[in-house]
């Protein structure tokens, strides 16, 4: 009985991650006439793939530099500094995570040409800066203030700051690696910019294009090319993820340290405000303002912007996009619930018995969502097992929830396993001496200390599921989401009601996680 939740979670991982991926790998070497390496040989001659890979790597480096500057500086000046308003600017570091990268792209593309390399790098850097901001802030909160003060007294202020930078280097690097990883794997934003006139392409764009166009492929190698091209890429992303996790794990445990002393910024106190305001303006304010202007009618030239136009936009949005919005909401809620249920037993097992489970759980994070979607479609669209069951699980809401859960499981599993490791083993051992059934021990002893972390994980997964575009494009059951609808509608100059839908989506992303706190009247705490 006690092993059942863990077995169910492992079965889920095997069914929705390992088997689909394994199927993809095998298909690349199993041609119509038997085993063959023809598809792999064709990749070597594919100049486009190399050009796209180079473009993606350059874009990843440039965007990560932007993320480091924005996110890193935000954390540096808001944690343990006398920055005016630092007390509330600091926790806001996680807030841009709520804004889907495609909204950031819409914001940037509306005010300036965004088809070039640097605008693309800038906006992707802004979109992924929260990874750096959150992990850098975590690192700073984990540094022992007494050690910092000792460094200050012995070596002076400048050297102490350098020491501090070295102390948080693992967390900072982990944040940068995550930003790099997400930039490389992102398909939605580069594709949106292509529609806006971008004429160069990233590797993830290439994968999706190959997949979509398999209908015009004529040979085995052409049909397998999207998968063959993706696998070396995935291996590279996996190494990056492994490195990021190792670095993150090296971060100090903040539970046993004294917080950093309040460090004076001196004459930089007011100018330093520029860092968090730029970060938040680019990550939240700009997209929101642009979307609001769209709703008011900025994207058309027939009449000036007005509230009456906004009312029309709202009515159109309700008429056109409400079902998609509701579908997104239910999908995100279902995903958050399922992910937490799966992550709890996996996290306990990883923290207490099988550390390698952490890596297994993290695997989906190394997969571009496009590839995970392709693997799921290939594995399930004609599954004899599901067919024999009668209903069409593949086409239903449940399949979309499972696909999303597979993608976002790493975020919850890693958060929870870190939390389990912080809990004293002695209490659990003492619990074994009490004559209570295992489920009672789980509910009374193991679960309560994990609830805050489980709530944080659920919120993060909910927000990520709400903003997910890549998987929504590939999985038929997830097609009818608001973000996908928006990405489509903007192509056809329907910015007016798209702006309203986007703002409603953001409101849901903010309000639903805050609802329990607002209803319970408890003080809000930073998710970071």
């Amino acid at each position: 009985m006690t092993r059942l939740p863990l077995l169910a979670a492992l079965l889920f991982l095997a069914t929705f991650v390992l088997l689909p991926l394994g199927g993809l790998v095998v298909a690349t070497v199993r041609g119509p006439d038997g085993w063959t390496l023809a598809a792999w040989a064709a990749l070597a001659d594919d100049r486009n793939a190399l050009v796209q890979l180079a473009a993606s790597l350059q874009l990843g480096l440039a965007a990560t530099t932007v993320s480091l500057l924005l996110g890193g500086l935000h954390a540096w000046v808001t944690v343990g500094r006398d920055l005016p308003g630092g007390g509330w600017l600091g926790p806001l570091g996680v807030a841009p995570l709520v804004v889907p990268p495609i909204f950031v792209a819409m914001g940037f593309a509306d005010i300036a040409p965004a088809a070039g390399f640097w605008p693309c790098a800038l906006l992707l850097g802004v979109a992924h800066a929260p990874f750096v901001a959150v992990l850098a802030a975590r690192g700073l909160r984990g540094v022992d203030g007494r050690a910092y003060e000792a460094a200050w007294l012995l070596r002076g202020g400048r050297r102490a700051e350098l020491w501090l930078l070295r102390a948080i280097a693992p967390e900072l690097l982990a944040g940068c690696l995550l930003a790099f990883l997400f930039t490389l794997a992102d398909h939605g934003v580069p594709e949106f910019l292509t529609v806006k006139g971008k004429t160069w392409h990233t590797y993830a764009e290439g994968l999706f294009a190959r997949w979509n166009r398999r209908a015009v492929g004529t040979t085995f190698a052409e049909l397998q090319s999207p998968i063959v091209a993706a696998l070396p890429f995935v291996a590279g992303l996996g190494v990056l993820l492994w490195a990021a996790l190792r670095l993150r794990a090296q971060g100090p445990d903040r539970g046993v340290v004294q917080p950093l002393p309040r460090r004076p910024l001196g004459r930089w106190r007011w100018p330093a405000l520029l860092a968090p305001t730029t970060y938040l303006a680019a990550g939240i304010a700009l997209p929101v303002v642009v979307l609001a202007r769209w709703a008011l009618g900025s994207a058309q030239r027939l009449e000036p912007m007005s509230l009456s136009f906004a009312r029309q936009s709202f009515h159109k949005a309700i008429d056109q996009g409400l079902p998609d919005l509701l579908h997104s909401l239910w999908l995100a809620l279902g995903t958050a619930l399922l992910v937490v249920l799966l992550a709890l037993p996996l996290a306990r097992a990883a923290a207490r018995r099988q550390p390698l489970l952490d890596l297994l759980c993290a695997l989906p994070a190394a997969l571009p969502a496009i590839l995970l979607g392709i693997a799921l479609v290939r594995a399930f669209h004609d599954s004899p097992l599901l067919r024999s069951f009668g209903g069409d699980f593949y086409a239903g809401w449940g399949f979309a929830v499972c696909g999303y859960a597979a993608r976002f499981l790493p975020f919850a599993a890693l958060t929870l396993s870190a939390q389990v490791r912080r809990q004293p083993v002695a209490a659990e051992e003492a619990g074994l001496l009490v004559a209570r059934p295992p489920w009672a021990r789980a509910v009374r002893l193991h679960l309560p200390p994990l609830l805050p972390a489980a709530w944080t994980a659920a919120v993060v997964v909910f927000v990520l599921a709400l903003r997910e575009l890549d998987l929504a494009v590939v999985l038929p059951a997830a097609n009818a989401t608001a973000v996908r609808r928006l990405a489509n509608a903007v192509h056809f100059q329907h910015e007016d009601w798209s702006g309203v839908i986007a703002l409603l989506l953001l409101a849901i992303a903010v309000l639903v996680p805050l609802l329990p706190s607002l209803l319970a009247g408890r003080r809000l705490r930073s998710l970071s």
């Binding site: 030239r301 009668g390 086409a395 449940g398 929830v401 489509n488 056809f492």
Partner: protein, 338 residues
């Protein structure tokens, strides 16, 4: 059976789309905001539970066609509403379509109906030139032909979508047959020599012209019409109307039944409704401003979008185009890049 197993099966059932009780499913390549309201109205009128699946803009038609091919052993689609014709004919050639002689299709002109009743075309878009009237205020200076793309007068000032998906792929494939291999190869070389801006989609070319980055470009009438409706300074030219010209290409929507798809009875009724004359009139009046193929159906209100019969239409071989679409797409992938 153990209670936990029963619970798991119950959950699986709850999360599944129940194939037995649901109505037909339609895959739609026509832009969602044009097709969805029409289909919702049809579903209500026919009292059917209609499931719709719309293509992404980035995927164009090819995404749904790929999915139909992928699902050929277990079709989930009952009706395919394609926003162009060649890929539908390709599916017919691959044996995926179910013949159906819809009574609504009887007055569709013969060239736009499959003799074996596997598909029927309706409501077309024209491949036109969209011109920025602020950059080119004098009508006499406007381009008039596909050949203007390779005219040095327009070097670096005009654009077209890459012929990888959608109507541009169909257009280029048909053009290859109409011009002949040698002339078409010269045309392709000319595109690169003349620094023609090659973009990802017709929407992108329209935006470049609308925003004044290009003087003119090839696009479809629906893209032109939405830009015009939003107040942008654009005009529409039906190309190659001169004596001896190849004419303007018309690319109609097409509808077909999928062999073995769910709920074929209601699917047939849906096809009848889609092919009704009123649907062509609805699509003509909508923002997409589609051109009716049948005489006597009210066309778009914008006089720049001309009715069938009032302009020289390009004669293209649908079967040849469909049969060569894959070969051409592969070749142009290498030539034009992703």
């Amino acid at each position: 059976m153990r209670p936990t197993t029963s619970l798991a099966l119950l959950l699986l059932a709850a999360c599944s789309a129940d194939a037995a009780s649901s109505g037909p499913t339609i895959y739609v390549a026509l832009d969602q905001q044009f097709s969805e309201p029409v289909l919702n109205a049809f579903a209500a009128e026919l009292q059917i539970d209609l499931r719709q699946r719309h293509d992404t803009e980035g995927a164009k038609t090819v995404g749904l066609v790929s999915m139909l091919l992928e699902e050929r052993d277990r079709p989930r689609c009952s009706v395919f509403w394609n926003n162009e014709l060649a890929h539908t004919v390709r599916l017919a050639q691959a044996g995926l379509l179910e013949p159906y002689d819809s009574p609504s299709a009887r007055d569709v002109p013969a060239p736009w109906r499959d003799p074996q009743h596997r598909w029927t075309a309706f409501a077309a878009r024209a491949r036109i030139l969209i011109v920025n009237t602020e950059l080119l205020p004098d009508r006499a200076t406007w381009p008039t032909s596909y050949a203007d793309l390779v005219d040095p007068r327009w070097k670096g000032r005009c654009g077209i979508a890459k012929p990888r998906t959608g109507t541009t792929l169909t257009h280029f494939t048909a053009l290859r047959q109409v011009l002949g291999e040698e002339a078409f190869a010269r045309f392709l070389d000319g595109l690169f020599a003349n620094d023609v801006k090659l973009l990802a989609s017709n929407g992108a070319t329209m935006r470049e012209v609308r925003d004044g980055k290009l003087a003119w470009a090839f696009t479809d009438t629906d893209d032109y019409h939405v830009a015009r409706q939003n107040g942008f300074p654009v005009a529409c030219v039906f190309p190659d109307q001169h004596e001896g010209g190849i004419g303007t290409m018309l690319i109609p929507n097409s509808v077909a039944l999928i062999k073995g798809g769910p709920d074929p009875v209601h699917a047939r009724r849906l096809v009848d409704r889609i092919l009704a004359r009123e649907t062509e009139a609805l699509l003509a009046a909508a923002a997409g401003a589609q051109i009716p193929l049948r005489p006597g159906v009210q066309g778009p209100a914008d006089p720049a979008i001309r009715p069938v019969g009032s302009f020289r239409a390009m004669a293209w071989d649908v079967d040849w185009t469909a049969a060569n679409l894959g070969r051409c797409a592969q070749e142009w992938d290498r030539r034009f890049g992703p």
